[in-house]
């Protein structure tokens, strides 16, 4: 699946997008964030306040307990400040 990062999440991760293949057992958005945070220091920094990071699956906002099965694009970003 494709991951996208925006705003300070993007800056901390150090990339705008990437393809990943999470191991079996990573079933939800929050589990995916915890798995990403264990990758290296940059990811750990990006996801250290996982409770403030928002997620979207295939262009729709989702909650942390949303299942990731079947997702083709998952985005992580800070609370939005548009308008």
């Amino acid at each position: 699946m494709k991951l996208l990062y925006f705003a300070w999440v993007r800056e901390r991760v150090g990339k705008t997008e990437e393809q990943i293949d999470p191991p079996a057992g990573i079933a939800t958005v929050s589990e995916l964030m915890a798995w990403l945070a264990r990758r290296d220091e940059q990811y750990a920094h990006a996801f250290e306040s996982a409770d403030v990071i928002r997620a979207a699956i295939d262009h729709r906002h989702v909650r942390p307990d949303a299942p990731i099965a079947g997702a083709s694009e998952i985005a992580f970003f800070p609370p939005m400040t548009g308008g």
């Binding site: 705003a7 300070w8 979207a56 970003f77 800070p78 609370p79 939005m80 400040t81 548009g82 308008g83």
Partner: protein, 161 residues
């Protein structure tokens, strides 16, 4: 019912876009427009520019979903949402929301509803540039609280039946 949703970097003319909504129509009795403009200060600090990052594809989809929701709640005849991204200077327009209806109540309410949702649900992020550096703007609790007033409110069209 005519809808126009546009995301663009280029500046646009608010009066032209507002006039377009009611042009050639005689059923519209009320047109409300909200224009969001880039201020020169953020929390008391002078800013030199604002940069808006957005999520292409989702931004359009999310705005379209809220326009659809507004149309289900109020008897609207036209809706326009234009949101800019990229570098924007103080004094420049960032966003325009225009809502048209037969009567003013629906037009006012729908414009307010759409702005409240754009602030907290449309995937845009503002970064301010000052003389000393750049920083991301934090989401404000007051914006999050603003959308709570729309929660659970039955659509007026349904309530009227």
């Amino acid at each position: 019912m005519t809808t126009l949703i546009r995301l663009q970097h280029q500046a646009f003319d608010v009066a032209t876009e507002a006039a377009r909504i009611a042009h050639g129509r005689t059923d519209i009795g009320a047109l409300v427009t909200f224009t969001g403009i880039c201020r020169a200060d953020e929390d008391g600090e002078q800013i030199t520019a604002l940069t808006l990052e957005h999520y292409p594809g989702m931004a359009e989809a999310e705005i379209a979903r809220h326009v659809e929701e507004a149309c289900a709640r109020w008897p609207l005849l036209g809706v326009t949402v234009i949101h800019r991204y990229g570098r924007i200077l103080p004094g420049e327009v960032i966003v325009l929301v225009g809502t048209a209806s037969s009567h003013r109540e629906a037009a006012f309410a729908a414009a307010s509803f759409l702005m409240d949702y754009l602030k907290t649900r449309a995937p845009f992020w503002k970064r301010v540039q000052t003389r000393t550096g750049t920083s991301w703007i934090d989401a404000k609790a007051i914006d999050e609280a603003a959308i709570e007033r729309w929660a659970g409110k039955p659509p007026e069209r349904e309530a009227a039946k």
